[in-house]
Symmetry: C2
Subunit: 87 residues, 2 copies
Amino acid sequence: MVDNRLDTTFHALSDPTRRGMLASLALGDKSVGELGEPFAMSFAGASKHVKVLEGAGLIERRKSGRKQICRLKAAPLKEADDWLRQW
Amino acid sequence: MVDNRLDTTFHALSDPTRRGMLASLALGDKSVGELGEPFAMSFAGASKHVKVLEGAGLIERRKSGRKQICRLKAAPLKEADDWLRQW
DNA sequence: TCTTTGTTCAACCAATCGGTTGACAATCGC
DNA sequence: GCGATTGTCAACCGATTGGTTGAACAAAGA
């Protein structure tokens, strides 16, 4: 029942695997496989994390052949930052 | 098994009740009861949220008679903000 | 002292989380 | 077409979450 935007953003950021994926994406677009590769984890597991990030609006995907290329979207990070900056 | 500081901070922030408590604390120190009062929730429930915030280092408490006065501690927010600002 | 107030604790519950496996679909290279 | 690559989905698992109730406790006030 997580409906608030800040909820999903902060929740997505609360996992080190997902933060690592975002850090990786900051260096350039990556496929789901490339994103999951550094984290000894099954493909499906990585796919789930990517879906959480996508659900939070932190990334967007584009199909390129059989790969799913992910790109960082900073807008929700900005929102989260604005919230933090209240203090 | 959440051992990373950013993990606990972002997790604490991912709940609207806890964000509300922090916002409330930003206006001045409050007891646990005062913090929980706006959120239709049992006393024990509010106490748990406060404990999460305390565990994340976002607040500190001081005993004043039978009340527990909570005060905002911004240091972990700063850390979280620094992380966000990488992008 | 007895009662009230403020708070925590322990036990429990349903829901969610992070992860797995196995089956499947789509696309590429041969 | 065949096989390998890339990824999703559904089902399951154990651990954790957010919440409840009820008992307990500590301090203040009568």
